[in-house]
Amino acid sequence: MLATKEDRGVKVAAWAAEATGRTNPDFAGLTFPTSRDERWRYTRASNMLGRAMHPATAPGSAPAQRPLPNLDAHRLVFVDGHFMAALSTGVTLDGAYIGTWGESIKANPGLLKTWGRGAFADKEWFAALQAEGSQDGACIYVPKGVDISSKPIVVEHHLSGAGIAAHPRNIVCLEAGAKAEVLLWTSASAEADGLMNLAFDARVDEKAELKLEFVQDEAGQSAHVSHLHLTQAADSKIEVHTATARAHWLRNDLHIEQIGERANATFHGCFAPGDGQFTDHHTRIDHAMPDGTSSELYKGLAFKGGKAVFNGKIKVHQDAQRIEAFQKNSNILLERGATIYAKPELEIYADDVRCSHGCTTGQFDEEAVFYLRSRGMPEAAARRLLTQAFMAESIVGLRPEAREHVEALFLERIHA
């Protein structure tokens, strides 16, 4: 028994060394997650170990079809963890910096110390892998009082081919009263079978506002693990809209920490795994200071052979009084052979709070389908319409261009 454990450890270490391109990656004592770890209870990551992958020494080609080509935005494009300057439009504007993490730390090595290895690196094995293999990503800094939200910043991360592991690291810092909108977009080519292991750390200061849209549209057989960590100070506002439009095997960790009073967070998400696909959304919000509010909504569809996990945790710390936290998760199993695992959690240590969660799993109301059909609508169209109606609430926060793209991908699957 012990021998197998050791063998496994050796195997994992060898794989990790190759995937990060480092001889001895430091995992700070963390072990590869298995179903015995509560946070990985339903998630099997071990398949990944069977695939050889390594960081790309040079970027492959960017996707021919770029996301939201008509959107007027600043763009930062990364392929296989490398910055594509020719495709990007990074700028310095009103004192705000929209550029790359690589350039930023070259100019100011102190940043490395400030941001460390990332919030998850000493807790999650994959985050440690990210920290060890860390590659280039976006760096967005908005100084005090500056509002650059009128023009969104699109950050694209693309996996170009087989056998590639990318570990992009993204940093966002909004100083007091600053405002910005970021659209994080991940994609992968049809040949991709490696790993997109992405970190996103954001610091949102007093009265600052950040809107983050996160669209995951990955073709191919690659795995995706992301670590999003956002801290918000007093009177700040955060919106996160995650849409997992296409993914083969995906794990998202979203952690929001409210470290100031009266902070407000909204986070929505949606997912729709098809045959052989797996999505896992873990969210956590820490209400560490009084008078904070949060509102969470995740919706899922599961097709035949698809598996989805949703785990949402609301933690209200002691003395964080007058918190209002709401969480809702609704799922629909469309066909036999689909599975949904949901775990909405509340952990509450303060008494003057209003917290609730609701979780439902079911199917389309056949009477509604019948109603539409009796009005002359073909069955497929009726189901499409109901799908659209069901998902609408969870993607309404995305800008229209992104919303249309995501919705089209969901509906395409209904059609098939």
Partner: protein, 482 residues
């Protein structure tokens, strides 16, 4: 603002001594602490058990040795030393009695102090009481009435001797030995408990009940209960317990198994009031219980529990809904105060078509306690048109207590419907104001609101039990909630 500023009564409540903390001085026949093969052989020999039972125990012990104590529950305690526990203690003079009048007067006084006078129960409630003190049944009543209907209701020890075939068939069939660490331990060392068999088509004419007490200091109590309801039968089973005050932690690792055959119904109600430890969290009972029932076609199992005691509670009464159209229910009120920690809930495993389950859990946390709901609803691929509704509410009575919800929902059938909702709040100021301006005292007002909050569950208790449950709830929250 601290809890005491808001309500000085809360302090009174958290400092309150355990009401049922007394020790009955009855000579105990006990074996030295520690657990080895020989302990199990000795225990089995003392109980005059057949060879198959001893073999079963020894096999369970082997299994237990390979297992690790679970750490996933949201509780924090000093691990137990299983070699320091005494695994057998029986009252020395074991009376064989037909009538309650022959019961040891000392023990009768114990019952009186508990407020559960057996004669009164007998006279008023028509209840057969199988009184368990320190692991061995000493008094069983109404046996004759039950025997006329073919119902078997006796201590587990007696059942193993007299109804070996039945016990052997069903023991461990719902909770396998290796199900978990504590079920394996219980299987190896269980001392006594109750056995109940209801023949086909028989409706048990009375509520069956057992009172448990942990008595001798340092004695672990390992109860084993097995209820078999044959086709089309009905039984309502009551279990209630109080324990005397002790300074060292006492382990209670019970296993309850229910087999509900086609179209039968079993209602299992519990009022639990083990010693919770003092205001500093010293002492108190560790309550690590495995309770599970299996439902065949159109059978129904209903668990109702009122949990007010124990330092640590680790308990998940569950239903395996194996037969088509079977029903599982779970109604729970869990009150924690002082430094109590409870991690309790249920599991509803839907295997059959058209199976239904309902979960209503009401948690109340006061003092510096932690109260968690942990529940699983699983709809397997074959559970067509299965339904579940779960509601888990938490009420916080102080700013130093915690209320947590950990539901697990696993759905693999597209026609299954699952709804889960949970809320956490405290008593509203507007509710209090309304009551106070109608002339109620603060204590009455809190009492009214809390009783209303828990009513959905209390209503599910059998009439005979509701009185005691309300009494316990009142005692548990005395001072803070009437």
């Amino acid at each position: 603002m601290s809890a005491s500023d808001q309500n000085p009564l809360l302090d009174e409540f958290t400092q309150k001594e355990y009401e049922f903390g007394f020790t009955t001085d009855i000579e105990s026949d006990r074996i030295p602490p520690g657990l080895t093969d020989d302990t199990i052989r000795l225990l089995s020999a003392k109980k005059e058990e057949p060879q198959w039972m001893l073999d079963w125990r020894l096999k369970a012990f082997e299994t237990w040795k390979t297992m690790e104590e679970p750490v996933w529950a949201h509780v924090d305690y000093t691990p137990l030393d299983y070699q320091k526990i005494c695994y057998y203690a029986a009252p020395k003079s074991k009376p064989q009695l037909d009538s309650l009048d022959d019961v040891d007067p000392e023990m009768r006084r114990t019952m009186d102090k508990l407020g559960i006078s057996t004669e009164e129960q007998k006279r008023l409630n028509n209840v057969a009481v199988d009184f368990v003190m320190d692991s061995v049944s000493v008094s069983t009543s109404f046996k004759k009435t039950l025997a006329e209907k073919g119902i078997i209701f006796c201590s587990m020890g007696e059942a193993i001797r007299e109804h070996g075939k039945l016990v052997r068939k069903y023991l461990g069939s719902v909770v396998p030995v290796k199900d978990n660490f504590f079920s394996a331990l219980n299987s190896a060392v269980f001392t006594d408990g109750s056995f109940c068999y209801i023949p086909p088509g028989v409706r048990c004419p009375m509520e069956l009940s057992t009172y448990f007490r942990i008595n001798a200091s340092g004695t672990g109590q390992f109860e084993r209960t097995l209820i078999v309801a044959d086709k089309g039968s009905y039984v309502s089973y009551l279990e209630g317990c109080t324990a005397p005050q002790r300074d060292e932690n006492q382990l209670h690792a019970a296993v309850v198994e229910i087999v509900a055959m086609d179209e039968s119904e079993v209602k299992y109600s519990t009022v639990q009031n083990w010693y919770p430890g003092d205001a500093n969290g010293v002492g108190g009972v560790y309550n690590f219980v495995t309770k599970r029932g299996i439902c065949e076609t159109r059978a129904k199992i209903s668990w109702t529990q009122v949990e007010t005691g124990s330092a640590i509670t680790w308990k998940y009464p569950s239903c395996i809904l194996k037969g088509d159209h079977s029903i599982g229910e779970f109604y729970s009120v869990a009150v924690t105060s002082g430094r109590q920690q409870a991690d309790t809930g249920t599991k509803m495993i839907h295997l059959g078509k058209g199976t239904h389950s309902t979960i209503i859990s009401k948690g109340i946390s006061a003092g510096r306690s932690q109260n968690s709901y942990r529940g699983l609803v699983q709809m397997t691929a074959g559970a067509d048109n299965a339904r579940n509704f779960s509601q888990c509410d938490s009420l916080l009575m102080s700013d130093t207590s915690g209320a947590h919800t950990f539901p697990y929902i696993e759905i693999s059938n597209p026609s299954a419907k699952v709804e889960h909702e949970a809320t956490t709040s405290r008593i509203g100021e507007d509710q209090m104001f309304y009551c106070l301006q109608r002339g109620m005292t603060e204590e009455q007002a809190i009492g009214l609101i809390v009783n209303g909050y828990a009513k959905e569950v209390l209503n599910k208790l059998p009439m005979e039990f509701a009185v005691e449950a309300q009494k316990l709830l009142a005692i548990s929250l005395e001072g803070s909630v009437g």
